[in-house]
Symmetry: C2
C-alpha cells in the first residue's frame, strides 16, 4: 500500500504505455476518486469522457500529435460543464442565467472544478500502479475535439489524460525551488531563485538519460511565449457560450 | 498510514478548525506536494501565498464573509502566474509575447496549473490528519485580494484554501451518480440520473445532522445561476493582463 505522500511525490508523466487496457474496475475507481474532489458551490461543473472508439482515439492522437494519445490503457477527456447544473431551467430562466453562464467567473469555476477532479483521477491511477500524462495538446484543435465528443452548448473539452501501465520510467522532473513558488503575505519576484534554477536545469538537461540538450528553463519559456499558440481557443470557448462577458 | 484512495474518498470540506497553527514542517510538506503536480509544458504557472499577517487574514475573511478564513491553522491563496515564466524577457520580447500572455489559452493553462497544485496540497494536508476548505469566495473581490497580496501584472489570485485541525466532522456530501459524470465516446444528457439525484439530495438535506432543509440539487443550481455573481472578475482579470484576446 502506497501512502498519499508517496504517490504524490513519485509523480512523473508517462508517455509510453504497455498494450494493456484498463479493467472496468480500475476505471470505476479512477472516476469515483475524481468525483470526490471539492467542487465550487456544489456545481460539479465538469464531465469526463472515456474514449474507447478506435477512430476517435486515432483522430485525437492526430490532433495532439502524440502517439501515446492512441497507445495507452485508457484515454479520458475532461470537460468544463455548465450545462448539467442548469439543465432543468425553463427557457425564460435560461435567458436570465446567461450573465453567469457567460462570465469569466464561471469559466474559472468550471475549469477549476474539472482540474481538481482530474488531479484526483491522476493520483488514483498512480496509486493503482498506473502512469498518466495530462494532454493539453487536445487544445491544438479544441473545436474539432468538441465536435468529435458531441458536446452541447456550455460544455467544452479542456484537456485529456492518457492512462496505462508504464513502459518507461523517466526521471522526476526538477521543479522551481520552494522559495520561488511560496511567499508569505505578498508577492516577491524570485529573480535569484530563477537564476539558480536555470543553472540547475541546464545541468539536468545535459546529464539526463535521454533527450540530452543544452537549455535553461527561462530560455525554454522564452521560446514558448514568443510564438503565438492556440489563439483559436478564445473563439471556440466563446462560441460554446463561455467567457463572453 | 493512510492509502491514497482512503485519503481521496474520505474528503469532506472542513469549515471549523481548532486554534492550532500548522508547523513549518507541515507547510513544507504541503507546498512540496503541490509542486509535484503536473504542469503544462513545464510552465509552473502558479504561485502560492501563505497568509500569516493577522490584518490581511482579517480582511480576506471579510471579503469571503467566512469566519474560517480567519480561524484556521493556515491560509493559502493560489494564484495564476504567467509572470515568472517570462520574467527574463527583454522589453522587445515581452511585446511579442503579449498575444500568448493575454489569450484564453494561457488563462486556462495557468488556472489549471494552479488547481492541480492545489488539489495535491489538499490531499497532502488531509493525509497529515488536517482538514481543508477551498475558498472561491475570495473572488467576491478579486481586485482587493490582488492589491493586498501585491501581485504584479500577469499574476491573479484564483482561490484560497483554509487548512487546519478539524473541529467538526461533517458528512461526506453526495455526488451525482457516475452515470451523470462519465460517458463513453460522446456526451449524453443525463436527465434521468439528475432526476434521481434530486430525489436523493432532497432526502439527504432533510435527514443530515445539521442545516436540515427542503431542497434539490437542480433547485439549488437554479437559484445560484439566476442571480448574476462576480461579474467584476472579467474586468479584474483583464486589467491584470489575462484573457484579453
Amino acid at each position: 500500500m502506497q501512502s498519499t505522500l508517496e504517490t504524490i511525490l513519485n509523480h512523473r508523466s508517462i508517455r509510453k504505455f504497455k498494450n494493456t487496457p484498463l479493467t472496468s474496475e480500475q476505471i470505476d475507481t479512477i472516476i469515483d476518486a475524481a468525483q470526490h474532489a471539492s467542487t465550487s458551490s456544489y456545481m460539479m461543473a465538469y464531465t469526463i469522457i472515456g474514449i474507447t472508439d478506435p477512430a476517435k482515439k486515432e483522430e485525437l492522437s492526430r490532433i495532439s500529435t502524440q502517439p501515446y494519445v492512441k497507445q495507452n490503457g485508457h484515454l479520458l477527456v475532461f470537460c468544463a460543464d455548465l450545462y448539467k447544473p442548469i439543465s432543468k431551467a425553463s427557457e425564460e430562466e435560461y435567458v436570465k442565467m446567461l450573465p453567469n453562464l457567460e462570465n469569466s467567473e464561471h469559466f474559472l469555476v468550471s475549469s477549476i472544478d474539472a482540474a481538481l477532479a482530474a488531479q484526483n483521477a491522476a493520483l488514483a491511477a498512480e496509486s493503482l500502479g498506473l502512469g498518466i500524462c495530462f494532454l493539453g495538446s487536445l487544445r491544438n484543435n479544441m473545436g474539432r475535439v468538441d465536435e468529435l465528443l458531441h458536446l452541447p452548448k456550455h460544455v467544452i473539452p479542456l484537456f485529456g489524460m492518457a492512462i496505462g501501465v508504464p513502459d518507461h520510467q523517466p526521471e522526476i522532473k526538477p521543479r522551481l525551488p520552494k522559495e520561488a513558488v511560496y511567499f508569505e503575505n505578498e508577492y516577491r519576484h524570485p529573480q535569484n531563485e530563477i537564476d539558480a534554477f536555470d543553472e540547475k536545469i541546464s545541468a539536468y538537461y545535459q546529464s539526463r538519460s535521454s533527450n540530452q540538450r543544452k537549455d535553461t528553463w527561462s530560455d525554454q519559456m522564452r521560446r514558448r511565449f514568443l510564438k503565438p499558440i492556440r489563439m483559436d481557443v478564445t473563439d471556440t470557448v466563446q462560441q460554446k457560450g463561455f467567457n463572453k462577458r
